[in-house]
Amino acid sequence: MITPRRLIAAVAGAILLSSCASDAPQDTWKPAGENAQMIHDLQWPIFMVAGIVGVIVLAFIAWIVVKFRDRGQAMPEQTHGKAWLEYLFIAIPAVILTTIAIPTVGVVMALADTDDTECIINVTGQQWWWEYDYPVAADGTICGFTPSVAEASPIITSGQVVIPTGTKVLLRGTSRDVIHSYWIPRLNGKRDMVPGRVHYLRLQSDTPGIYAGQCTEFCGLSHANMRMETIALEPADFQRWLDNELEPYTAPDEGTLAAEGEATYIAQCARCHQVNGLVDDRGTDDPSDDSLVVSYPDQFVYSGAAPNLTNLMGRNTFAGATYDLLTDECRADVWEADPSEFGDRYLEGVTEDCLNEIELREWLRNSPAKKPMYADPEMLSETDGKTRGMPYLALSEDQIDQLIAYLLERK
């Protein structure tokens, strides 16, 4: 029989056990960088103080409830006002709060400092994914690294932001549609991204690996699916990643399924998604040639943007980091890799054997069914017919085969 005592014990036990979860990639109690460590060092003693105060108060209440419970005794004399006690109850919280406030303000100031930035990355939120672009500095470097190509162009990617370990990274964030909030719990606190404003967030990771995060400001239908991952690579691996991102576009071999996929991509996807350097069959890869395929997502998507797919298979997530491009086994190989081997594993990208083809196919077949995105035309009246997120494209199975073959080469 479930008695109230057993119920309370069960709930308390469940709460206690939930704190033992081993697979908790968004655990705020496992800092992996300087900024998160500062927050951790602050929140741990505060949590302890709050816990002790909480236990004392609850114990005191319990003692009063038991000791003075109704046993049919006469009503005791009622009194009001005891100045020294009231002063004491004001003084104790004041002292505790002041003690907490001093280091808190110090940490807040330290986290807002941008003077020691070594790498700047721009991040832009939109329903329901994050875009990252790496600006080129005046000296031609990107994120403090010199690209192997002579005149580097800005790198643009989505879902996963790649940073070098041991580097003080500054994210400059904004939003294209509604307010979002950026949070990688193991690397720093939250930062709202408000349209029309630019916000800063410091990131630093000491250890190579993947650090997961989640949008923490309700931003519409698929808010819960708006995820992000920070990939920390050793500086040498970051250099490799950087150079790979700047590699010129390579067209698929003629007569292959991937070549058919390129044509399908241009016909079906290129109006919203950009693949840098892609040209159609009219001309050359000369950038001034009007055969260059340029996307115009502002005409079709409410936020005015769609993920750049230039090196899609160099990442290992898609659909706003909602789904993995890797199979469970391959994903585990990357996520659980030893830090010294992590860079190699990650930079392998997505191979044909490791591709999570089932979910990618489902996505291409009917993306709004895979991730809620206002696919109902009647709900698009407020957006002048523009979609929020990727619409249903009615692709045939042959087209999906072609697209997957083409996208597999994008790394």
Binding site: T114, D115, T117, I120, N122, T124, E131, D133, P135, V136, A138, S153, P154, I155, I156, L170, R172, T174, R176, P195, G196, R197, V198, H199, Y200, Q274, N276, P287, S288, D289, D290, L292, V294, Y296, P297, D298, Q299, S303, G304, A305
Partner: protein
């Protein structure tokens, strides 16, 4: 078993339910369904209350009790609610042929009048004691009447006062008038506060006079119309219209809608004394002149500063024909040492052929050949 009133309300509830089902099946409109469901629920609740209170009366067949029943001992008092409902019906009719707002007002009046009338009718027969009946009515309706009355009163005061303020001939006169009125209110308040007691008629009379003065002043001022108020568009307004000619346009650089943009801009752009353009981005303390990178499809708030010794404007050519991008945007003339906010949205990347055709995105300053800053949009 059921009283006359109960029968009416139960029948109305059933009718509303049938109407809801029919409407839901045949039409399926959300708004209509919600309205009919609400009506069904409201009528059902009223029917329940009525069954419970039995019309606040004894059964008509209980002859002995009927004559001596408490509810039968007092005649109903005068009521303004039938008149209100008549007025509401007229307003609704008027609203149907004129404006929706009048129709809605009539509807609100009708609902309020019906509620008041129903409760008053019930309260007057609640018991044999008039005082108790009045108290019952007050207990039921005051929680609605008091806030509604206060809101209406406050609305009338604010609207009338705003008409007076807008009707005064100049901004200065409004400041003077406001100060005088505020001083009078303060003085009267102080006077009342300093008195040990003050008679109710004196207070009522004073407030009545003040109300009459305010409402009549508001009516007169409203009929006279507002004074001419000069339009102060922001710099962003003119920039979005692409008014980039040589003429100087008076834009309000202090308009409130630019405050947020100024507080958190994507970049600051400087026309230097030497005639070059430099920029500085958040998080990077250095001033650069190579190429400014800005995101695509995003309103970029840029602070444009003129550090040169002459009034100048910044201009940027954008690719034509895409939504959100006028072909050319510019600031208004910026005085020496001045600053203006410019919000620019790039619909296409700078590598697009149509952008390449116009030489890429580039800020320039008319009259200063050396002033040029490339903008890269990835």
């Amino acid at each position: 078993m059921f009283t006359t009133g109960s029968k009416l309300l139960i029948g109305s509830s059933a009718l509303a339910l049938v109407a809801t089902l029919l409407f839901g099946i045949l039409d399926g409109g959300l708004l209509g369904s919600v309205g009919l469901i609400s009506a069904t629920v409201a009528l059902s609740v009223l029917a329940g209350i009525n069954v419970f209170t039995r019309d606040a009366n004894v059964g008509s067949d209980e002859v002995e009790s009927f004559g001596g029943a408490a509810a039968a001992s007092n005649r109903p008092g005068a009521s303004m609610w039938p008149f209100t409902i008549g007025l509401a019906a007229t307003t609704i009719t008027l609203g149907l042929v004129t404006y929706t707002a009048i129709f809605v007002l009539g509807l609100i009046l009708l609902m309020a009048g019906l509620a008041e009338w129903l409760v008053q009718a019930w309260a007057e027969r609640a018991s044999a004691e008039t005082g108790h009946n009045s108290e019952v009515r007050a207990r039921m309706l005051h929680p609605a009447e008091m806030p509604a009355g206060a809101a209406i009163g406050l609305g009338v005061v604010i609207y009338a006062f705003s008409r007076v303020m807008l009707g005064l001939p100049s901004k200065t006169s409004t400041i003077v008038a406001f100060s005088v009125v505020a001083s009078i209110v303060l003085a009267i308040g102080s006077f009342i506060g300093s008195r040990r007691s003050i008679s109710a008629p004196a207070m009522t009379g004073g407030f009545a006079i003040a109300a009459v003065v305010l409402v009549s002043g508001g009516a007169v001022a409203g009929l006279n119309g507002e004074r001419e108020i000069e339009e102060h568009n922001t710099t962003a307004y003119y920039a979005a219209k692409g008014e980039c000619g040589a003429e100087e346009i008076s834009a309000d650089e202090h308009a409130s809608q630019t405050v947020a943009g100024k507080a958190s801009s994507a970049a600051e752009i400087f026309l230097t004394e030497t005639g070059t353009i430099e920029f500085q981005m958040p998080g990077d303390p250095s001033r650069r002149s190579d190429a400014l990178q800005l995101p695509r499809s995003n309103p970029n708030n840029l602070l444009m500063r003129n550090e040169s010794s002459e009034p100048r404007r910044f201009v940027i050519d954008l690719a034509e024909g895409y939504e959100g991008s006028p072909p050319r945007m510019c600031t208004q003339i910026i005085e020496e040492g001045g600053v203006q906010l410019l919000t620019v949205k790039f619909a296409v990347p700078s590598f697009a052929p149509e952008v390449e055709a116009v030489g890429g995105y580039r800020f320039t300053v008319p009259g200063v050949d050396s002033a040029s800053l490339e903008v890269v949009v990835p």
